[in-house]
């Protein structure tokens, strides 16, 4: 296959991935909405005239559960399309396929979906699918509509093996933080008491688990970025806007980890801190390139 047809195939696969993620989103949503019959509360009259309330837990609804399983299948196929799109893009341009904003966002979405899909193999977190796939579809749509760049070579500064190290780490951490952000947002949306969503404690645990894995990877991404900057620009740290926001994101996630261990900050406050940190991550990803420029602005924002 020629480079051009590989690049075209990559673009088509991204569209297929969007559609599959949307289909999966519908399946997950159906399961979330109709998967369990509401719990029955009955008031029984005892022989002595008093009353007892009896709560029967909701039963699973077969067709809705089936929709959930189909959604997982659609997610895996969408994931495969996403993986193949990234691979064919890399083959078409003969370099690591994360040299500009478009490619970075595609890879970050892939990382987030990967984290979710492997997590749901081990833990009962299928409900997250509805939210992860909608973010994946929106993210890919944003990449295609706003950030799209024709497959091509990169400027000399980006033509380095450090792309594989620094950017891959940033992508992996961003994927993990995205799943953490979804869980944290659900935590805040869900109030205490009855809900279709899992208990707040479970959501908190999911968020914490992915952030705990993501944080050292993000730390490594920042440090390997400094190593690359030392190679390319003659200094390892110079407070370029991207560096400033990577640092702010790092401090914000560190604050989350400390908040979680501080009396009075556990639970809701810590979750809000983690969402602020996620906001910083997104701003660093998109906002810095658009608003500030700086040395990282070669990332090709049209």
């Amino acid at each position: 296959m020629t480079a051009d047809s590989l690049a075209t195939l990559s673009d088509q696969l991204i569209l297929a991935a969007i559609l599959l993620y949307l289909a999966a989103m519908i399946g997950y949503a159906l399961e979330l909405a109709f998967g369990t019959r509401p719990a029955q509360v009955r008031e029984l009259v005892r022989s002595d005239g008093g009353t007892v309330t009896e709560t029967q837990p909701g039963e699973p609804v077969v067709w809705a559960r089936q929709a959930g399983r189909l959604a997982v299948g659609a997610s895996w196929i969408g994931w495969a399309a996403n993986v193949t799109a990234t691979l064919t893009r890399g083959l078409a341009v003969e370099r690591w396929p994360w040299g500009n904003m478009y490619e970075f966002v595609v890879a970050m979405i892939l990382a987030a979906v990967t984290v979710y899909l492997f997590m749901q193999l081990r833990y009962p977190v299928r409900f997250l699918g509805a939210f992860v796939t909608v973010i994946a579809a929106l993210g890919l749509g944003f990449a295609v509509r706003v950030l799209y760049t024709q497959a091509g070579p990169v400027v000399p500064a980006l033509d380095s093996y450090w792309v594989a190290i620094h950017v891959s780490a940033a992508i992996a951490a961003s994927g993990l933080f995205t799943v953490g952000g979804v869980a944290a947002a659900l935590y805040l949306i869900r109030r205490e008491g009855e809900s279709r969503l899992p208990a707040r404690a479970d959501l908190e645990r999911i968020a914490h688990r992915v952030i705990v894995i993501g944080f050292p990877i993000w730390t490594f991404a920042v440090i390997s970025g400094a190593l690359w900057a030392d190679k390319a620009w003659g200094r390892y740290w110079n407070w370029d806007p991207k560096e400033v926001w990577a640092f702010i994101t790092w401090v914000a996630y560190a604050a989350y980890l400390h908040a979680r261990a501080t009396a009075g900050w556990k639970g809701k406050a810590a979750m809000i801190v983690s969402l602020i940190a996620f906001g910083c991550l997104l701003f660093n990803l998109v906002g810095v390139n658009i608003f500030f420029g700086g040395l990282h602005s070669y990332a090709d924002v049209p």
């Binding site: 091509g152 033509d159 003659g234 261990a261």
Partner: protein, 515 residues
């Protein structure tokens, strides 16, 4: 300010305590987790203006442009150090407090941890069945077997008359402390680099040389403790520079692909020459002093003959790139030696020229069809006035007058062509094209310590976030063994591992989990 599982007690408010009491209260408050958390937020918040406003340390030119565009606002912002955020006293105040808070928290914990590491696991509680994880074994188990099993799982083990106590996971706190101490080392390394390091920028034209001395730099920024003698005495000559670009037919036509500068380097005076291929991402390294290729541009070569028929100037003139995608460049040629009047020229260099109506434009960054448009001036350059001047700027010279009739778009000269100046003032010939490169030389003795500290932070972080501290006890009562387990790390899943431990102690037993 460490990630603690135990809740820290808030410092109690002092009531009628003297100076010592207030100091104690202040220290306790400063080193509390809550204060550390607030300082962390402030640290992040304080960095934001550093990305919003241009910074002198990053791009002084942009700061100057900000001052020109918004003088009043810029002056006010400058009063609050908004163009020097990361060198401002208030930013320093935040991170010094944060690191003081860190020292106050980490040092006592390090001492406590050193004691804790040497301590033996605590004796088994009387009733192990009350622990969150516990199991009763039906089979026969001797204490020696239990010790062997637990030791094989790398627990530290202590035995009593009828019990075994085992503990594992001290590396969690070790990692936590290593992480925080490494952050302190990192800060020190950055400080040392700032004191003993230096940075210099220089522009070198093909064929020219450079020797690493303070005077040779166009811009030189030494640390507070750097002397002129501490510069590494290397020198080099730029023999060739090559840039390649994406060719026509692609969306990104003109985008640079590779830069390569060939240097002939002498590591010290008298040392043999070595040839170095300098590229982006591949700096020149002379004993830890690094030279980077950070930019390039064109230097057209001119020969200026004055009215008296003498060659008054001959050589390349580095031009400033005004359009980075076509490398259209602006040149200023000053000829103070010209007689009878001094001469000056403004030039517009076009590396790949195409006519566009009355105008000419450059369509490609490579020098495919280089031309230069020339606007000549004559008069007094004012070089004797004592005022410093930029070589890239004619400035507002009142004593310079255009020679002849000024046209908006003079016909550009191709290589070899000459422009005869009116009134017999001489001529200027465009004889060739050279390229210049912009280099940055840095020496930072804090680099390696900073790198080692960074590696330590990542390793410490991984240990402190993945390792769990847990204890296991085995107690024998009337020939029957009970096993109890306790995870000392909140939110961790010890159930599976405990089940495995029980299974390896006795495969036939059942596990109860009361959590």
């Amino acid at each position: 300010m460490t990630v603690v599982e135990e809740e820290q007690k808030q410092a109690a408010k002092p009531v009628g305590l003297g100076v010592i009491g207030w100091l104690r209260w202040g220290w306790r408050t400063l080193t509390s987790m809550r204060t550390a958390l607030i300082l962390l937020f402030l640290f992040a918040l304080a960095s934001v203006p550093g990305s919003v406003f241009p910074q002198r340390a990053v791009d002084p030119g942009q700061v100057a442009r900000y001052f020109a565009a918004e003088p009043v606002r810029a002056e006010w912002l400058d009063r609050f150090w908004m163009f020097d955020v990361f060198r401002s006293p208030w930013f320093a105040a935040i991170y010094l407090l944060l690191f003081l808070s860190l020292v106050g928290c980490v040092l006592p914990r390090t001492l406590a941890h050193l004691k804790e590491i040497r301590r033996k696991p605590p004796a088994a509680p009387r009733n192990l069945l009350r622990l969150p994880h516990h199991a009763e074994l039906d089979g026969e188990l001797t204490l020696a077997d239990a010790v062997a099993v637990l030791k094989k799982r790398r627990f530290r083990v202590e035995t009593g008359p009828d019990w075994v106590a085992a503990e594992k996971g001290h590396l969690r706190e070790t990692g936590n402390l290593v992480f925080h101490l490494a952050l302190l080392v990192l800060l020190l390394a950055v400080g040392v680099g700032g004191l003993y390091g230096y940075k210099g920028n220089v522009l070198v034209v093909e064929g020219d040389g450079f020797a690493n001395t303070v005077a040779a730099y166009d811009r030189y920024v030494p640390g507070a403790s750097v002397t002129a003698e501490s510069l590494e005495p290397f020198s080099f000559r730029l023999t060739d520079f090559q840039a390649t670009y994406v060719g026509p037919g692609h969306e990104k036509v003109g985008q640079p692909l590779t830069y390569s500068a060939t240097l002939s380097v002498k590591d010290a005076p008298g040392a043999p020459d070595r040839v170095v291929d300098l590229q982006v991402n591949e700096p020149l390294d002379v004993n830890g002093t690094l030279t980077y290729l950070i930019g390039h541009g064109y230097a057209p070569v001119f020969t200026v003959t004055d009215g008296a028929g003498q060659v008054a100037y001959e050589g390349p003139v580095p031009c400033l790139t005004s359009n980075t995608s076509t490398f259209e460049s602006e040149c200023v040629i000053k000829v103070p030696d010209a007689a009878p009047q001094q001469l000056a020229f403004l030039g517009r260099f076009l590396p790949s020229t195409l006519p566009a109506g009355d105008d000419w434009v450059s369509v490609f960054p490579g020098a495919v069809n280089p031309t230069v448009q020339i606007w000549p001036f004559a008069g007094d350059l004012g070089l004797d006035s004592g005022q410093p001047q930029s070589v890239y700027d004619l400035g507002a010279h009142q004593n310079l007058k255009p020679l002849g009739k000024m046209t908006a778009q003079p016909r550009p000269l191709a290589v070899g062509e000459a422009l005869d100046l009116p009134d017999g003032a001489g001529k200027i010939q465009f004889t060739g094209v050279k390229e210049w490169i912009a280099l940055q030389t840095t020496y930072d003795p804090g680099r390696m310590p900073a790198l080692l500290a960074s590696i330590a932070t990542v390793l410490g972080l991984v240990l402190s976030l993945t390792i769990r501290r847990r204890r296991v006890w085995v107690r024998m009562t009337d020939g029957r063994a009970t096993v109890g387990g306790l995870s000392r790390t909140e939110g961790s899943n010890f159930t599976d591992e405990f089940a495995e431990i029980v299974a390896s102690l006795n495969p036939r037993s059942g596990v109860t989990d009361d959590r």
